[in-house]
């Protein structure tokens, strides 16, 4: 086989590089990446416009004239500038903290914005060099203009650098007007996104790095942590979905390590997940409106999911990672996957650094945390929605509790009449039995309050001993209540998912109350010659067995099969 020289058309290749899926804001921020990677503490992005009169139109329209990204990073010498403008830069120019990956970022990002790229740079504040490539002038050969910067360019750079002796200006002209949105739209997106994307750099949280100041068109961008971790208060920071007041940020999963590659087991990523406030709850409190809460925490469609950071820079915004599906009840769910560039190859990060593909190993270590976190987040949101809803209208639980309470009050009266009609010796025996029942399983003061204030005869609790699904409790005056274990697999994997199904909820509440009432009758009016303590012990065991068997059954059948009506 002979070797032949393949044809390369530099102009077309350069143009093609710009069509790999960049949006204008992501292209600009990819160039900002270079500034950050090379130690800038001050970066400024300018989008300049000019007026044009379209053919046939009466009024003039403002369009983009140029994009300028200025920084006070280390600057480039001749060789580095050659490498920056050349196609497929040498990897040896990048250290292990770099945000770059293939050495194509500057060329592809700039080409997606415009046809002409100019780079002016200095490493010492004395020598200013310039490289310029214009796609309109490129043919088969890849050639660019190189030389000293003009006096005006030097003067402008010196004004920007103020105290620094090195830096770079990247200027993109001849914009691709047919694919660019308005200047206002580009600037808004840049301002909204860059605070999240460079959160660690803008807040000075990158080890061994000074805080970075980023200005977008004279507006200084503040770092924005999508997880709002700094707002989590003290030791009581973990989310308890049933007691959460919806007002504060909570941990769902504290920082936890996962492995990302079986070939490089030493490569670790960190996952952490928080629950942001519930806007309707905040709105009801009067501290701020629900809308202000949504704005402050950026709560809304497209913003919930996993934020993937690579080397302290965001590369994937609110990704689902095949686990966090579209669901309004997940609006407060915020996760972060933090990785280093040593994981690039195994995570299969693309050239725009905006998409990643997790390895099977990473997925298998990440999914358990994500799935449980998702369940907690949905449950917390739903409970808060119910509470807020309660303030204005009834829910299936309140409706059925009201009905059960009415019936139970009548049953207690009937029981009292029966008791009064018994023989004196029988009466004493019944009262003793009743007292024992009440003492063996008393209600807590909180439970009693809920019955007094809300007729809650069926109360959902965080957990019950040994996986029991339900349990009786008694108040001497108000009668019996039933506790239902919210952590039981039946509730968390099947019933909670169907919480909008009012008929099911009412039916289940009635059934739990009925089963508890059956136990009570069995104990209260039993004619067996067995002590209450012994019978209580048998019933406790019975409930534990039912709880275990039900959990096992649901696990084996699969909650999805029950919910979907399959298999």
């Amino acid at each position: 086989m002979e070797k032949r020289q393949g044809r390369v058309n530099a102009g077309r290749l350069f143009e093609a590089l710009g069509k790999i899926g960049y949006s204008p804001d992501s292209a600009i921020l990819d160039i900002v990446d270079n500034s950050v990677a090379y130690g800038a503490t001050k970066i400024q992005v300018e989008v300049k416009g000019r007026k044009i009169k379209l053919e046939g139109a009466k009024r003039e329209k403002t369009v983009v004239e140029s994009f300028i990204i200025k920084d006070n990073a280390v600057g480039m010498d001749e060789s580095s500038l050659d490498n920056a403008i050349g196609l497929g830069s040498n990897a040896s120019h990048y250290d292990d903290k770099t945000l770059s990956k293939f050495g194509l970022g500057l060329k592809s990002a700039s080409s997606s914005l415009g046809k002409k790229l100019t780079v002016i740079t200095t490493t010492d504040g004395v020598h200013f060099i310039k490289g310029c490539v214009d796609q309109d002038l490129l043919g088969d050969e890849y050639e660019y203009d190189f030389g000293p910067a003009t006096d005006d360019e030097v003067s402008e750079m010196k004004t920007f650098l103020q105290g620094s002796t090195s830096g770079t200006f990247v200027i993109i002209e001849k914009p691709r007007l047919d694919s660019l949105p308005s200047i206002g739209e580009i600037l808004t997106k840049l301002k909204d996104k860059s605070g999240v994307i460079f959160y660690y750099y803008l807040t000075g949280k990158v080890p061994d790095r000074k805080k970075v100041t980023l200005m977008i068109d004279d507006h200084t961008v503040e770092g924005f942590d999508p997880l709002h971790i700094d707002e989590i208060q003290g030791n009581d920071g973990d989310l308890n979905e049933s007691t959460w007041d919806g007002m504060s940020v909570k941990w769902i999963t504290r920082p936890q390590k996962i492995q990302v590659s079986e070939e490089h087991p030493e490569c670790l990523a960190t996952v952490e997940i928080t629950q942001l406030p519930h806007p309707p709850s905040v709105g009801k409190s009067g501290l701020m409106t629900a809308a202000q809460c949504r704005d402050k925490f950026m709560i809304g469609a497209g913003n919930y999911g996993i934020y993937v950071y690579r080397n302290y820079r965001l590369i994937s915004w609110a990704a689902s990672l095949d686990v966090v599906q579209q669901d309004q009840d997940l609006y407060s769910f915020r996760g972060r996957l933090f990785i280093n560039s040593d994981s690039d190859d195994v995570l299969n990060i693309d050239v725009t650094k905006s998409r990643i593909q997790l390895s099977d190993l990473a997925k298998s270590q990440l999914t358990p945390s994500l799935s449980e976190a998702k369940r907690k987040s949905i449950s917390a949101w739903k409970i808060r929605s119910r509470v807020v809803d309660d303030l204005t209208k009834g829910t299936p639980h309140t409706d059925i509790n009201d009905a059960i309470d009415k019936v139970d009050t009548q049953l207690i009266k009937d029981e009292q009449i029966d008791e009064d009609l018994s023989s004196p010796s029988e009466k004493v025996a019944i009262r003793e039995r009743k007292k024992k029942l009440e003492e063996s399983k008393p209600t807590t003061p909180e439970e009693t309050k809920k019955v007094e204030e809300g007729n809650e005869k069926v109360q959902y609790v965080d957990s019950l001993d040994n996986n029991q699904l339900w349990q009786r409790a008694h108040d001497p005056k108000l009668g019996m209540i039933v506790r239902v274990n919210r952590s039981h697999r039946l509730i968390r994997e099947v019933v909670d998912i169907q919480s909008n199904n009012a008929t099911l909820i009412k039916l289940l509440d009635t059934m739990f109350f009925g089963m508890a009432k059956g136990e009570y009758r069995f104990l209260y009016s039993s004619e067996h010659n067995i002590s209450v303590d012994k019978m209580e012990g048998i019933l406790d065991d019975y409930r534990e067995y039912v709880g275990s068997e039900l959990s096992d059954l649901i696990k084996r059948i699969g909650a999805k099969n029950i919910l979907n009506g399959g298999n």
């Binding site: 492995q259 087991p265 298998s364 996986n467 697999r489 096992d552």
Partner: protein, 156 residues
């Protein structure tokens, strides 16, 4: 003829009796770690045998094939240890919730330790609300400590 080393050593026969436990298997050949839970009638030894067998419950083998994309491999140098859970109803029960919770938290602790030793954790766990219970957290910490000491010793 392939010669198989037939030596066998059991330190304590309780490994073959029914008892709820969290266990850890490591393959020095593949450099992987597997964390699991069992309440098998044949004890941890019975579960260990299932993992290496051709039966459907050979999850350890299945995970090795799945993660490392092997079509077949004769596993060698597989060693393990276990941590007995209290003989309480919740751990003895058919429902695996409480054992699953200890297993999941134990794996969380083991991952960074295994990574620092160049080992990959290949088991798949399930988290549930029982993971939030304080005594489950304590049990998993003790199990993880025992397992990490074991792994470190084997690699010395």
């Amino acid at each position: 003829m392939v010669e198989i080393d037939s030596d066998f050593y059991v330190k304590d026969s309780r490994i073959a009796t029914a008892s709820p436990a969290i266990y850890c298997l490591i393959s020095l050949q593949i450099r992987c770690v597997y964390v699991g839970q069992t309440n098998s009638k044949l004890g941890v030894l019975g579960r260990f045998a299932q993992h290496l067998s051709a039966s459907e419950s050979n999850t350890f083998k299945q995970r090795v094939f799945s993660i490392y994309k092997y079509e077949d491999i004769e596993l060698q140098n597989v060693i393990g240890t276990y941590f007995c859970l209290p003989k309480e109803h919740r751990f003895l029960s058919n429902a695996t919730d409480y054992r699953d919770a200890v297993e999941a938290l134990t794996q969380d602790h083991i991952i960074p330790i295994a990574a620092s030793l160049g080992m990959t954790v290949i088991s798949r766990v399930q988290k549930n609300p029982q993971c939030n219970l304080d005594d489950i957290k304590v049990l998993s910490e003790i199990a993880a400590k025992k397992f990490s000491n074991f792994i470190e010793r084997q690699l010395q």
